[in-house]
């Protein structure tokens, strides 16, 4: 049953009738020595396919926690998270990894490129894991992505040999490697200067224009007019959710 869903990539009839991302009563409690800390307190959220959603909020509000629930990179305390109709927290670890590799691109504030691999290999790796492309094709695709990110000249360098902005562009290329419909980014420009941040933002706009769905955490409220929706998180709850 799960396999069938994974192998079909978000059939359009489903996404027409249902939001791409659907969160219901999502609770995340961090258990610490000092006691339990509820970071998300029963949060509901729908994101339609093709949206460019920006999430903002004060530091410690629970943005990263929310994103982790959507990507399935951290365990849920209670509630439901469906992405493309799949209840991702019910998948086992291996299936979730495979599902994530095929359907989701994740971009981090601190890039997280593998330090010992060349940029090209970094992009090839997700394709290798998920096996959607043949070997020759995946190499061409990786070079294409690097070219799109204007990083083709650096293909054989190591991550430590390029700048932060460049690393983030490679990380985006890696997130796009398996051509996933959904991209989730947690403060992708947080470590970059405003000019570089603008370049990255433009890339995201292009991706949305190509039909991708983008969820991005940011502290930059000036982009409000340039995304399809702004969401503010406060103390683990959605502050305001104007009608889409």
């Amino acid at each position: 049953m799960h396999l069938a869903i994974m192998n079909s990539r978000f059939p359009p009839e489903i996404s027409n009738h249902q939001p791409l991302i659907r969160l219901r009563q999502v609770v995340k409690v961090y258990r610490t020595a000092a006691g339990d800390f509820p970071a998300l307190k029963g949060l509901d959220l729908d994101v339609e396919a093709g949206e460019f959603l920006a999430i903002t909020g004060k530091s410690g509000a629970g943005k990263t926690t929310l994103v982790n629930m959507i990507t399935g990179t951290d365990a849920l305390t209670s509630g439901v998270v469906e992405v493309g109709g799949v209840n991702i927290h019910q998948l086992d670890e291996n299936r979730r990894a495979l599902w994530r590799g095929r359907h989701l691109g994740v971009i981090y504030q601190s890039f997280h490129l593998l330090p010992n691999l060349t940029l090209l290999d970094n992009i090839l790796l997700p394709m290798d894991f998920c096996g959607l492309y043949r070997r020759r094709a995946s190499r061409e695709r990786a070079m294409d992505l690097l070219r799109q990110m204007e990083m083709a000249d650096h293909a054989h360098k190591l991550p430590s040999q390029i700048s932060g902005g460049q690393q983030q562009r490679v990380a985006i290329a890696r997130a796009l490697a398996n051509d996933p419909p959904l991209i989730v980014a947690d403060e992708p420009t947080g470590r970059l200067d405003s000019v570089t941040a603008e370049v990255i933002f433009r890339i995201f706009q292009q991706l949305v224009a190509q039909g991708k769905t983008l969820v991005m955490v940011t502290h930059d409220r000036t982009i409000a007019g340039r995304v399809s929706r702004m969401l503010t998180i406060q103390d683990g709850e959605v502050l305001n959710q104007p009608a889409a």
Binding site: E93, R102, H112, L114
Partner: protein, 802 residues
């Protein structure tokens, strides 16, 4: 083109060459030790058993007063006898300097070039010698001060001198086989000549030792004994007087007790080393994989399944293992051969044509392929089990969500600086890792200290054996003299404090059927002697008023199983059958020592009609004259003095030299043990270096952060140093404790093989302190070196370091 995931495995290997090298060497050293031990075990058994059997050693040796050549033919024709040969055995002295000489045992064979039994291995020169030439055995060659091509001077009974050319050097693996006179280690130098040379040496052309092999069942001692009995009957039927007989299997090398103890040690150590290397490997790999947890998180984010991640690391580990296996295989055989070469000169065997030992290779390969995978699977499992979030933030494995008890406890200690506290907390933060590191170090240290203690135990026992030879000078006269007169004469020499007249006789056990059995050295001591302090294991020593009381050494338990205090033993002394009552047992040099018994001087001298007279004197010298040189010097003075009095001296030996010969066999063992201790130290040290270096390397990032916030190199060095030395010291204390059971176990293996019973285990501080020194130095090196290289990186590089 390689798939990117394998690319990643290789890139990980390649990116940190120092770390990869450490991992490979850590695995290799464990494999090496296992390989060295198992290969030595196999080769040693091969050399000592098969190599010995290849010399076609005599199964039966009968020493007689003399027998004709046709008697040998008659023996050879007996149905159970495969081959029989007669030998003429003579004892002479060979000059080693102006006034010094040493005894030499010479064998003359009638058909030298057709010799079948007790074959000699020609090492140098030629064999057989021509008439009036001599071939010498390599083992005690040094004592004769002769080399190939030299001419040795032999003293004849008449006082005449004969010069003989040394034309060949051979190895005679059968030295000590008769069991007479204490075996191989106290055997005199051995020479081999033609039968025709005997007359020229003023010796009778008379065969006096019979060597025979059995037709079948050469591994069945009982059968050989019974054939020996048949042979003895044959001697009797021909009215030939026999002196002693010995029976042994074709694989019973005279030095087998040492072989047994070494093999026992090798098995024990091998077992421990397998454990040790498993710990080293586990530890090293868990350190390595801990550094990879973040990358595991990243790979999971981009879609890697647990299986895919695991296979990457399994391949990575496989590459390390194969490299380590290659290294270990390349060196373990060589080291084993070097060890074998050393032992061959010490316990007298021919170096065999060795071949790689499949069992040893298999063992190394199995350990290399399995242990690292098992060891690695734990951290991999951990690394793949935590949530991606934990992996990425690097908190997953730290179990550091609250300050540990130790940390809180440490924080209460006054005078600890904050950075020091941080460092100590680091030590205790990763509890599992700390435990692994400690277990590795403790095991390595405990084995080292344990082996060292076994060595000391044996050394101590050798000193203890010296109490059987307390006298400074031992004097043997050509004929008996009155003890009272001799005492007076000897005391005229300055330095002589006291003199005791002892007696000695060669005796043989009398078998229940009345036939002559094994040879016994019977020593008679004055009941008030102060020159012997025996190690009594049961019963009592000789007392004044004792008549035919006798105290036996441990070897009688093997020859007369079940013998107990109060039993009667029958001995043939000077051809006469006598009865003795056992009053006690003492422990001597074990299986290589043969049968030895003590009785009271008065009784034996009455038996031999020598009341008040003796040929053997034990002399004590004044304080400050107890070194070997001083003893030898006094010996020369005494000899000259007696000569002036017209008393002929047969032999003078320094007390310490006697001790030395007894100790020589055990000395081989202690050298062997020292070597094993060094091997353990090397293995333990490598484990220590690898683990601690990886610990510090893992913290490269942390070091970078500390530097970024103002820590100087000295701060950082001090931090890692404190941590390293703390681990080292904790492990040292625990290793000292653990070394007790390990040392005792090893000591028992050795002593049971040699003495058939455990000897007192002695604990020495030497090994403890050497290990302390090693641990300290290695802790410093292992923590400061990687910290230094971390300090050499720029902060940017460090923070980028994963």
């Amino acid at each position: 083109m390689m798939r990117p995931r394998w690319h990643k495995a290789l890139a990980d290997l390649w990116s940190n060459k120092m770390r990869s090298l450490l991992v490979i060497v850590s695995i290799a050293i464990g494999l090496f030790a296992v390989g060295l031990i198992s290969t030595t075990h196999a080769w040693l058994g091969l050399a000592m058993r098969d190599g010995y059997a290849a010399q076609n050693p005599a199964n039966i040796i009968i020493t007689a007063a003399g027998f004709p050549a046709d008697f040998v033919d008659r023996i050879r024709n007996l149905p159970d006898v495969q081959e029989a040969e007669g030998v003429a055995l003579v004892s002479l002295r060979v000059q080693t300097g102006q006034d010094t000489s040493t005894p030499i045992d010479i064998q003359a064979f009638p058909e030298m070039d057709e010799k079948q039994i007790n074959q000699l291995t020609l090492l140098e020169g030629k064999y057989p010698p021509a008439d009036r030439e001599i071939v010498l055995d390599i083992n005690k060659l040094e004592d004769t001060a002769a080399r190939l091509g030299d001419t040795i001077t032999v003293q004849l009974p008449s006082g005449r001198l004969r010069e003989m050319k040394v034309v060949g050097i051979v190895r005679d693996m059968t030295i000590g086989a008769g069991g007479m006179g204490g075996g191989y280690f106290i055997a005199s130098p051995q020479g081999y000549i033609t039968f025709e040379t005997l007359a020229w040496l003023e010796q009778p052309e008379l065969l006096n030792q019979l060597h025979a092999t059995v037709r079948s069942g050469d591994a069945d001692l009982e059968h050989i004994q019974s054939v020996a009995g048949t042979l003895m009957d044959e001697f009797e039927r021909n009215s030939l007087i026999t002196i002693s007989r010995a029976a042994m299997t074709s694989t019973a090398h005279p030095n087998n007790p040492y072989l047994e103890s070494m093999l026992g040690l090798l098995v024990m150590l091998g077992f421990l080393v397998v454990f040790l290397s498993a710990f080293i490997i586990t530890n090293t790999l868990s350190a390595l994989l801990n550094q990879q947890i973040q990358q595991v998180g990243v790979m999971k984010t981009i879609g890697a399944s647990r299986f895919q991640i695991r296979s990457i690391y399994m391949v990575l580990i496989l590459v390390y293992s194969l490299a380590a296996l290659g290294l270990a295989l390349a060196f373990s055989d060589r080291a084993a051969y070097a060890l074998l070469t050393f032992l061959s000169t010490r316990i007298n065997f021919n170096l065999p044509a060795v071949q790689p030992v499949p069992r040893s290779i298999l063992l190394q390969a199995l350990i290399a392929l399995i242990v690292p995978q098992v060891a690695g699977s734990l951290p991999i499992l951990q690394g793949t089990r935590i949530t991606i979030q934990q992996a990425l933030s690097g908190t997953g494995s730290g179990n550091a969500d609250r300050p540990s008890v130790v940390y809180r406890w440490l924080a209460k200690i006054r005078g600890l600086s904050r950075p020091m506290l941080i460092s100590l907390r680091n030590t205790f933060r990763r509890r599992l890792r700390l435990v692994l590191t400690l277990v590795t170090l403790i095991l390595g240290g405990a084995i080292f200290i344990g082996v060292f203690n076994v060595r000391t135990t044996i050394d101590h026992y050798m000193d203890r054996l010296g109490k059987y030879f307390i006298a400074d000078v031992n004097l043997t006269l050509s004929e008996p003299h009155s003890i009272r007169e001799m005492t007076a004469i000897l005391k005229q020499v300055p330095g002589v404090v006291s003199v005791e007249g002892w007696a000695g006789a060669r005796a043989e056990l009398v078998e229940p059927d009345g036939s002559v059995g094994e040879a016994v050295i019977l020593q008679a001591v004055p009941t008030d002697s102060t020159l012997i302090e025996p190690i009594l294991t049961a019963g009592r020593w000789i007392l004044p008023g004792d008549e035919n009381a006798i105290v036996l050494n441990e070897m009688f338990n093997e020859s007369l199983p079940g013998i107990a205090i109060g039993d009667t033993v029958r001995l043939r002394v000077n051809g006469e059958e006598t009865e003795w009552v056992v009053v006690g047992f003492f422990q001597f040099a074990g299986k290589s020592g043969g049968l030895l018994a003590y009785t009271g001087f008065d009784h034996l001298s009455r038996l031999t009609s020598m009341t008040g007279r003796s040929m053997f004197y034990r002399i004590v010298t004044a304080e400050g004259m107890h070194t070997l040189e001083q003893q030898e010097e006094l010996g020369a003075v005494l000899e000259a003095h007696l000569k002036r009095q017209g008393i002929e001296v047969s032999e003078i030996t320094a007390g310490l030299s006697l001790n030395e010969t007894t100790a020589r066999g055990l000395d081989t063992l202690t050298t062997f043990l020292l070597f094993m201790a060094l091997l353990m130290a090397a293995v333990g040290s490598m484990g220590l270096m690898g683990t601690m270096s990886l610990n510090v390397m893992e913290r490269t990032r942390e070091i970078g952060v500390m530097r970024a916030i103002g820590a100087t190199d000295r701060h950082i060095t001090r931090l890692v140093l404190v941590e390293g030395m703390l681990i080292g010291l904790i492990s040292w204390v625990l290793a000292c404790l653990a070394s007790f059971p390990i040392g005792k176990m090893l000591s028992d293996v050795v002593s049971i093989a040699i003495f058939s019973m455990p000897i007192d285990f002695v604990f020495t501080a030497t090994g403890v302190f050497i290990w302390l020194g090693l641990v300290t130095i290695l802790s410093i090196l292992a923590s400061v070196l990687p910290a230094r290289s971390a300090a050499r990186l720029t902060i940017r590089e460090v923070l980028a370091y994963e």
